[in-house]
């Protein structure tokens, strides 16, 4: 890991992906944002699916690229620099697939993983949060009751990314709220299963491309074959999914921060005030220098966390650090970029105002930043 050179294969892959992100995704970003939460455009995900980049971690045996987390983080940084919303959709796919990859049955893997590697742009959703259970996930109340060999699931899920447009949903429920962690259970539910309905579409400040909805489960009737993992293992499965996903969420933050930094740098060199480029003002140049240090530091945390995941080492603390650093620098860079660009950055249509709105959610999703600090502190 002390060698920071990418392999020739990684260089080539990154070049191919950067071209897609820069020339096919970035030009759509403003329009996707403007269209808002109400309408989901499959265009960008189709572009990614055509190149099998929509869920790059799907193992090769199921038709995926089988990329490790480190390489995936490189791609997500590029994608987030182009459009944080599209990058969030990809991380949601990875997140939803993770419990199946980690603990799914052979049949579940054969049925669902190839969908995410298909050229037909299938999405997946992970449904966990509830109106009354956010950070306190052991308090979920969506109830799964077993009767005559079948499960009946009822409840309401909130903030489901890819809700209503996913081909399948990885759902976490409880067999009894008093059982807390030991009562948690995970299911994979195909779209269209009777009783599973899309609820309200959530309209957001940023990452407006990302379709985020409620999901309502009204006596969804499923066999045992749809349970993911061994009995009682769902809580650990979820924590492990979070721990892995957070490193990638950090990569999205780094990508967004980099985009804001690069925009501000270019602007500061072109924009003249007091007879010279704004960049020549030491306050501006130092601000950019500080940002670059923080972006680089966050990226290194992301890389280390991903390296630990790929090598099956203890990655919990580093993943939380990566997510904390990535989301913090995204917000800081977006705010700094707006300061440097001044009034122009505040105008609709300028990428900076979108960066600022998109960055705000980074410290909320995939576990709030305070939760990341709690995870880190628990290991001290």
């Amino acid at each position: 890991m002390a060698d920071f050179n990418l392999s020739p294969e990684q260089e080539q892959l990154l070049e191919e992906f950067r071209d897609i992100a820069l020339h096919k995704i970035a030009p759509m970003a403003a329009e996707l944002d403007e269209a808002g939460d109400g309408r989901f455009d499959f265009g960008p995900v189709r572009v990614l699916a055509e190149h099998n980049f929509l869920t790059p971690t799907i193992p090769c045996e199921y038709g995926g690229r089988g990329l490790d987390y480190f390489t995936t983080s490189l791609l997500l940084e590029e994608l987030a620099a182009a459009c944080a919303g599209v990058a969030t959709v990809v991380t949601a796919n990875i997140h939803a697939a993770s419990p199946i990859v980690l603990a799914g049955t052979g049949q579940q893997k054969k049925t669902y993983l190839p969908l995410l590697a298909s050229r037909k742009a299938h999405l997946a959703a992970l449904a966990l949060t509830e109106p009354e259970a956010g950070s306190d996930i052991a308090s979920i109340s969506t109830l799964a009751v077993k009767n005559n060999g079948f499960w009946n699931i009822s409840g309401t899920k909130e903030f489901v990314i890819n809700g209503g447009v996913a081909s399948f949903t990885t759902l976490f429920a409880t067999t009894g709220p008093d059982k807390k962690r030991s009562g948690m259970i995970a299911f994979v539910l195909p779209a269209g299963i009777p009783g599973l309905k899309e609820g309200a579409v959530r309209h957001k400040l940023g990452i407006r491309y990302v379709r985020t909805t409620q999901l309502v489960l009204d006596r969804v009737h499923v066999p045992d074959e749809m349970v993911i993992g061994s009995q009682g293992s769902a809580y650990l499965l979820l924590m492990q999914t979070f721990d892995r996903g957070r490193a990638l969420a950090g990569a999205v933050g780094v990508g967004l921060a980099r985009a804001a930094y690069e925009f501000a740098l270019e602007f500061s060199k072109k924009r003249h005030q007091f007879g010279r480029p704004v960049f020549d003002q030491q306050a501006v140049a130092f601000n950019l220098a500080d940002l670059l240090v923080k972006i680089e530091a966050a990226r290194l945390l992301v890389w280390k966390a991903c390296w630990l995941i790929d090598n099956d080492l203890d990655y919990t603390m580093l993943s939380s650090m990566a997510k904390l650093a990535g989301s913090s620098v995204a917000q800081e860079a977006a705010a700094a970029a707006m300061d440097i660009c001044g009034g122009r950055g505040y105008l609709k249509g300028c990428p900076v105002e979108k960066y600022l709105r998109d960055a705000r959610v980074m410290s909320l999703i995939e576990g709030t930043n305070n939760i990341q600090k709690a995870v880190i502190a628990s290991q001290l």
């Binding site: 059982k179 807390k180 962690r181 009682g232 809580y235 203890d314």
Partner: protein, 133 residues
């Protein structure tokens, strides 16, 4: 975050099965310090590892995730007030293996046996209170 409780259950199950940390660590292929950190909740145990441990210790995975408040359970049994959260965290770490063994024995008894123990403990407590005035 839940992992301290998992760690306590892990320690309990290991001691019930009669393994030292070194012995169990060797069986699951990790270092003694890693296992110690699992038990203290300072390191998150991943699912595959816990499933391996569950098999060796002959416990279902749910056993390790049960919401059991050992420290307050012990305090309630001896009629002491419940500990404040920060105090509880420190106290839990100080529970002696003698007390944990007693708890393990208690849990392994039938409901009738557990009632007999409770009755005896209450009788003993009353007698001690009487003797001490």
């Amino acid at each position: 975050m839940g992992y301290k409780s998992i760690g306590r259950q892990l320690q309990l199950a290991r001691e019930q099965a009669g393994y030292s940390q070194e012995q169990l660590a060797a069986k699951i292929g990790c270092s003694q310090s890693t296992l110690s950190n699992y038990e203290k909740g300072r390191r998150r145990i991943y699912l595959a590892q816990l499933e391996k441990i569950a098999e060796i210790l002959n416990k279902p995975v749910q056993f390790f995730l049960q919401p059991i408040d050992h420290e307050n359970a012990v305090r309630q049994e001896v009629c002491l007030p419940a500990a404040a959260p920060s105090e509880a965290t420190a106290a839990v770490q100080d529970i002696k293996s003698r007390e944990q063994n007693l708890l393990a024995l208690f849990q392994s008894l039938s409901p009738e046996g557990q009632q007999l123990i409770m009755d005896f403990a209450l009788w003993l407590k009353k007698r001690e209170v009487g003797e001490n005035g």
